[in-house]
Chain length 173, copies 2
């Protein structure tokens, strides 16, 4: 499938089938994640793979009871290592680069999941301290995204986008 087609056809999936993931799928998703670019190639990321019902339920609870996090086969908790980023880039590393680097990794996961016929969603609304507790995160690890993965049980239409002409500016605003 053409890359632009993958980018445009990917959807946020919020309901999943009770069906196991194919062998090796999570490894492929995280292989894509770790090849994301990062400032100074610092790679300030860690990925917690939650697949037991207990952990998924606890994550769901930390995310204002979003049901898709319980329903999905697996939830990937993407963490930004603030310490690793700050060692190279100080405040800019901690408050900007490690958020961007992990976001690029998440986008790689979402695109790869779609290309494998799997559904996913970028969940950003959660209580960070509660997620930290669930995954026993060291204090320098900031959970920045929860990504449920599973076979989609819905086929949502595309959500509209602001037109290209509105978001492009030539030379300046």
């Amino acid at each position: 499938m053409d890359l632009l087609e993958v980018i445009k056809k990917r959807r946020s999936i919020r309901t999943y089938k009770k069906q196991d993931l194919p062998q090796g799928a999570i490894e492929k998703l995280l292989e894509a994640a770790r090849w994301a670019p990062s400032a100074g190639n610092v790679q300030p990321w860690e990925f917690v793979v939650a697949s037991t019902q207990k952990t998924k339920q606890e994550l769901s609870k930390a995310a204002f009871s979003q049901k898709d996090l319980e329903e999905a086969s697996v939830v990937i908790v993407v963490c930004a290592d603030e310490k690793r980023a700050a060692e190279s880039y100080d405040v800019r590393g901690k408050t900007l680069y490690c958020l961007q680097d992990t976001a690029a990794a998440v986008q790689n996961i979402l695109l790869t999941a779609y290309s494998l016929g799997l559904g996913s969603c970028w969940v950003g609304a959660f209580n960070e301290d509660e997620v930290r507790k669930v995954i026993k995160a060291p204090k320098e690890m900031r959970p920045v995204a929860l990504v449920p993965i599973g076979y989609p049980n819905e086929a949502p239409a595309a959500r509209s986008r602001r037109p290209l002409s509105e978001v492009i500016h030539k030379e300046a605003f």
Copy 2:
């Protein structure tokens, strides 16, 4: 080309040929950018396309004289609209979501550029106030990345990545 191949073969390109981009290339890159996911589909992004030598030189100067920004055919200045994000999500929108959403858009640009045979680089080291001045950005627009685009004049080897086994954690740290 397979998506995982695009993800793994993309490189940061820091020297460019003096060769014009193919017709419509920038539109394709920004089409990919605007199909990135965003929290609540808020799309807190704007893209300034700098193609005159004057603007590129000014951007280069604002980025500690990085030469690739002058050499590239075009520099895309990716801006996060903090106001748009904050209207929906307050502080979390301004300090997290709009940075993640624009980072996902940048990653789409980098992958699409590579798939079109073009080089690019994610430049994060620049003086934000100076870039703002160059592109006459309204005060709510935060420049978050400079992305030079052009035909690559180098073919760098892959930079190493931390092994998968080091970055994956089962259920918890």
